[in-house]
């Protein structure tokens, strides 16, 4: 991995810079650090930073930009006419990339020499079987224009990598010498280093924004691709979810949204009463000992990974519910309401259990924020504790509790493992909680795992689903956080 060694080289250079810069500064002060403007280490750090930071930045940007440039140059090589029916440029490009990577792999495994790999001719040699021998499977026979594009792809990549190495090393050396020359006792090394550190801090903080932008963009472009291949009206307003890998799929979000909301509603019906009453008891009635035990114990439920709840739904709750409400003669009540272990109820109940501590600890905080003066006022009038809670504390805490429930709802909507394992895979509109239904997250997982073809609407729909999920949960979160924040300001 040459990039890895390049980074190591840059870091080594920068370490060397640290030692040399420090020594030169000390020498300029006659060996007495008191004559220096800054502490000796700052001079070293200055050289080290000037060496490594710009070079590493160039490296990072280069690695991000190079694929775009190459992609554009290479895709220009593919004539419009050579794109087969029913596919798109991006599909051909993924063939090109795969072929290029395959050839590189063949060279790596010494199956081909570098020279042979460039001299390949699709007419004379069977590239597909050659690459198969080194473990790279190609989807179809290699066409000449694809091979040509792949070769130019490899050419550009390798010359790009060379150029990147040269530029990065050059910039490191320039930074090294400039900073080294500056390492003099008059030089304000500390100020420069601190400004550099500051820039790094800002960079780290902006990564949060970058992540959001990354999330939105990565899903947005693929979603646009999806809408290029599939009618957006069907996605938003259709009523059927029936992916069909031979084409002609009906891909509507509505049945999935229905399943998602139904399961979330059941989860909240379990979690909100239990969580809220637990919070009320803990904050208004429980003594300090009960609180010290019950609160952390309940919070353990929140720390258990969702895969555990998923397994619990699949192997324990589902079969239990089936025994209660299904199996006819063999069941406990002889009912036939349920036909399989996966159902809306299974996933909803288990998700509800997961959300209990989430609701209870949020509500607990919020109830505790209600000023004691209000409770005193009510008790002083002769109200009982429960009257005080129901008629004074809860109404006062209502906005905060609504915020907490919205946060819990957003959690439920975005939860994946429990529904993947407990809800089933059938997309439909139904009010029967004993039937199995599917959710947005479940479909994202199933469309994006296994063999995926990023040129088919059946795969790309996952990005549109993901974007919808993101927008939905983001909206709920923003609203909830706003409500909670307003609520807290009220009593601060």
């Amino acid at each position: 991995m040459p990039t890895f060694w390049l980074v190591v080289l840059l870091l080594a250079l920068s370490a060397l810079g640290f030692a040399m810069g420090r020594r030169r500064a000390l020498a300029s002060a006659g060996g007495n650090p008191r004559n220096l403007h800054s502490l000796p280490n700052y001079y070293g750090a200055n050289v080290a930073m000037s060496t490594a930071v710009p070079a590493l930045a160039i490296l990072a940007i280069w690695l991000l930009v190079q694929p775009i440039v190459i992609e554009n140059r290479v895709s220009a090589l593919i004539p419009e006419t050579s794109i087969p029916e029913n596919t798109s440029l991006s599909l051909v490009m993924s063939d090109v990339r795969r072929l290029a990577e395959g050839l590189d792999e063949a060279v790596n495994q010494s199956f081909l020499t570098q020279k042979q790999s460039f001299a390949l001719d699709s007419a004379t040699s069977d590239i597909r079987s050659d690459l198969g021998a080194v473990g790279v499977a190609l989807g179809s026979e290699v066409r000449p224009e694809v091979l040509e594009a792949a070769q130019s792809y490899r050419q550009l990549s390798s010359s790009g990598a060379t150029l990147m190495t040269v530029v990065a090393v050059l910039s490191a050396l320039v930074g090294f010498f400039l900073a080294y020359r500056n390492s003099d006792k008059e030089f304000r090394a500390r100020n420069v280093v601190e400004r550099g550190v500051m820039a790094l801090l800002v960079l780290a903080a902006s990564l949060a924004i970058l992540t959001t932008v990354g999330i939105v963009l990565s899903m947005f472009f693929e979603t646009m691709n999806f809408f290029g291949l599939h009618n957006w009206r069907d996605f938003f307003f259709g009523t059927t979810w029936a992916p069909n890998f031979r084409g002609d799929s009906e891909l509507s979000i509505l049945p999935l949204l229905w399943g998602t909301l139904y399961i979330s509603a059941i989860a909240l019906m379990v979690a909100v009463p239990v969580g809220l009453f637990a919070a009320i008891y803990l904050s208004e009635y429980a003594g300090s000992t009960v609180r010290a035990f019950a609160k952390p114990l309940l919070e353990i439920l929140a720390g258990i990974p969702t895969i555990v709840y998923g397994l619990f739904a699949l192997l324990t709750v589902g079969p239990l519910l089936l025994k209660l409400f299904g199996q006819g003669e063999n069941g406990v009540f002889g009912l036939t309401w349920m036909s399989g272990a996966t159902s809306v109820l299974t996933a909803g109940v288990v998700m509800g259990i997961m959300l209990i501590p989430f609701v209870s600890s949020l509500s607990d905080d919020i109830i505790n924020a209600v000023p004691q003066a209000l409770r005193d006022g009510s008790l002083g009038l002769g109200a009982t504790k429960s009257e005080t809670v129901r008629q004074v504390v809860l109404p006062a805490a209502l906005p905060g509790i609504v915020g907490a429930i919205l946060l819990a709802a957003s959690r439920a909507i975005g939860e994946t493992m429990i529904v993947v394992m407990g809800a089933g895979a059938i997309a439909k509109f139904s009010g029967n909680p004993f039937e199995s239904m599917t959710t947005i997250t479940t479909r994202i997982v199933s469309q994006l795992t296994g063999d995926t073809d990023f040129a088919s609407p059946e795969t790309l729909v996952a990005f549109a689903l993901g974007l919808s999920l993101f927008v939905l949960t983001l909206g709920l979160n923003v609203l909830a956080l706003y409500i909670v924040r307003k609520y807290r300001e009220q009593y601060d």
Partner: protein
């Protein structure tokens, strides 16, 4: 019926409403109130004065068992309301507090409408048969608390939107809406500006006609202005108790004199 009741009470003047005998209060290991004996009369404003931390608020909160809400608080001795021990096991503090109302230091209206604030007490105690009666109680209480004219047009507005002085008078209206016999006030003016303080003090003087009022105050001037009887607390002891005029002009105990003249406090 209720007005009849009030008239009855005005007749029986100067009877003892609350009698405390050898009351001791402990907060965990701290001995907060030591052997306090005091008699609080009906239709009288009794002021508790004393330096901060002297126990006057603690003692006040014993009178309607608000201290019950604090786990580590323990009370010994007898406190009799109309001859009945309020710390008797059979007494439900909820019923007691309906008879002994309380107004707090900081105005604490509920985040509800003005009407709902005042009607809260009558509702939980079931004092009104129907909506009309409830409205009657609310109006009467607001009138007695001298705030009716200011809020009669906006009874649906939230109580928290009023000014500080109005809020405190609303809290007083809320307390008297349950028809208490005794009204406890814990520094009711300490969070108010001088004008609002004057309004509330005037109100306290009027309330004397119907209730026995106990007021804890920091301000000696306030005690002198509103009360007929004054009790001086110091380090958990009731140092002196007597007619307000006497306490302020001719105190018997040197500690009282030091406090009145500003040497301790």
């Amino acid at each position: 019926m209720n007005t009849m009741n009030v008239m009855d009470r005005t007749l029986e003047t100067k009877t003892t409403k609350i009698a405390a005998r050898d009351v001791n209060v402990y907060y965990g290991d701290t001995h907060a109130i030591k052997d306090v004996n005091v008699k609080i009369e009906a239709n009288t404003v009794t002021a508790f004065i004393g330096p901060s931390g002297c126990g006057k608020s603690t003692f006040l909160r014993c009178l309607n068992r608000m201290n019950d809400t604090i786990d580590i608080c323990r009370v010994t001795g007898d406190i009799l309301l109309d001859g009945e021990d309020i710390y008797d096991k059979r007494v439900d503090p909820v019923q007691l507090r309906a008879k002994v109302g309380m107004v707090f230091q900081k105005p604490n209206p509920f985040p509800k409408s003005i009407f709902d604030n005042v009607s809260y007490g009558p509702r939980i105690h079931g004092l009104a048969r129907n909506k009309a009666e409830l409205e009657e109680i609310v109006e009467k209480s607001l009138r007695r608390a001298a705030i009716w004219e200011e809020v009669k047009d906006r009874l649906d507005a939230p109580g928290t939107g009023l000014s500080g002085g109005q809020q405190q008078r609303l809290c007083i209206a809320r307390a008297i809406a349950t028809e208490p016999e005794v009204l406890l006030m814990d520094e009711p003016c300490s969070a108010l500006d001088p004008i609002a303080t004057a309004q509330v003090e005037e109100l306290i003087d009027e309330l004397r006609a119907s209730y026995s009022v106990v007021i804890v105050t920091h301000s000696m001037q306030q005690a002198a202005r509103v009360s007929q009887k004054t009790a001086f607390f110091h380090l958990g002891n009731l140092v002196e108790f007597g007619p307000t005029g006497q306490i302020f002009t001719n105190p018997e105990d040197p500690r009282t004199e030091s406090y009145i003249t500003g040497r301790i406090g």
